[in-house]
Amino acid sequence: MTFGSIIALSIGAIFINNFVLSRFLGLCPFMGVSKKTETAMGMGMAVIFVMTMSAALTWIIWTFFLLPTQSNVLYLIFKTFGASVVPAQFDFSYLETIAFILVIAAFVQLVEMVIQKSAPALYEALGIFLPLITTNCAVLGVAELNTMSMHLNFLESIVNGFSAGIGFTIALLLMSGIRERIELADIPKPLRGLPIAFFIAATMSIAFLGFSGLKF
């Protein structure tokens, strides 16, 4: 894995395949917490952290528990107890979604507890966003993409997770900046609030289509 491939991967995750505006993942927080730049920033930071960590965790789960390889933990256990088994019998990749959700939810819960105890100020700042991320499809999406579709190695998974978080934060910040200004604008009554936000999201998505021309 070269430095160039890392750059290509992160540019891809941030701009070309932006999680919100190109893959349409994590639209709930994109609409829900983009009213203020401050909260958007808090949410973005929380997402970057959780995405990076869960990308690493889920990669470990995927490689050592779910894939039918020589290093599958269950296969090794059965083998040491003398059962005549082959790795192909331990293909649990269909458990991916449920296992990943379990891991991410448990991890976020743990992080929340630790932060609440050790850094109350940070906990106050992140507030409701940490538990919200537990079931954020963007986080699960990163895990799925890293393992199932893109077959990345450990380091690449972490880079992809981090970059996806950055891409999410950028989209959220852009959106919140626009929405803060639109709050004061003279908009027809039926379109005020969420409706106009959907228009903006669509327009931004079209704008991000322009990045699909980037080639490495």
């Binding site: 269950l74 819960q109 604008a185």
Partner: protein, 325 residues
Amino acid sequence: MMHYAIIGALIELGFFGLLFGIGLAIAAKKFAIEIDPRVEKVLDILPNANCGACGYPGCSGFAKGVVAGEAPVDGCVPGGGDVAENIANILGKSVGETAEPMVAVAKCNGGNNANDKFIYEGIADCRAAKVVAGGQKLCPYGCLGFGTCVEVCPFDALTMSENNIPITDFDKCTGCGICVKICPNDVMALVPKNAPIYVACNSISKGAFVRKSCKSGCIGCMMCQKNCPSDAIHIIDNLARIDFDKCTACGICIEVCPTNTILNKFEEILAQNNGVPTAVPINPDETKALLAKIKDEQKKKKEAAKAEALKKAKPQSEPKGENRA
């Protein structure tokens, strides 16, 4: 082949579940945080409007602050005396003198009476209008009239009057002061709920400029200060200000004010005028009689002073005359 897949899946998910379950249980014990049960009790009592008048981000913040002893027991303005008493009971503290209930009023009666400096066609928001050369009104202190205070009021207590001035529904207003904070010209102010008379002007410009910019601004003519029987109204920086502790609501200042700047928000007056404070004393006849009396006394005093001055002047001149002689 088949049973390995089933058993393996059960083992794996069971293992994950067990591991995370135990892990989280241990973590919950290890990282447990003690929460004061009184915080929840106080939170139940509070109005939960999250208005922020107490200075905390919301009611839950204030509850924590009160229990920690950082916030005063009667810090919740919209809650008033009852809430303060209940909180004090929970915490075992006593309420000091509970603050007098306050309401917000607009210290401006300009609106359509106030002249424009230019025609503003931007975003219909006072804060935005204020940024453009200090607002479109010629008077730099008055109400800009875009109703930002009306929008932010969490209790729906403000509306814009026909004169394009925010008027308060005094039954709904809790004195939380959000409109006071949001107004870019500091037009909104809190006054005691029981004090009926207030000065509806915010301009500290000199009288001549006020005359030019607005038909109902305070020109600092001193009429109210000269005639007030209880020394409750004073002109400070070209603007009349009422000392609510001294004011007896006699209405003389309203009667003598040449620009109708001093308004009355007495209940009956409001009922007669669709809730709009008006420059009418509570009992016009009584006020007129009182005013006549005061003018009479002033005349007598003046005459007495003149007479005394004459008396003093005479003995001074007499000894001079003797000296000359």
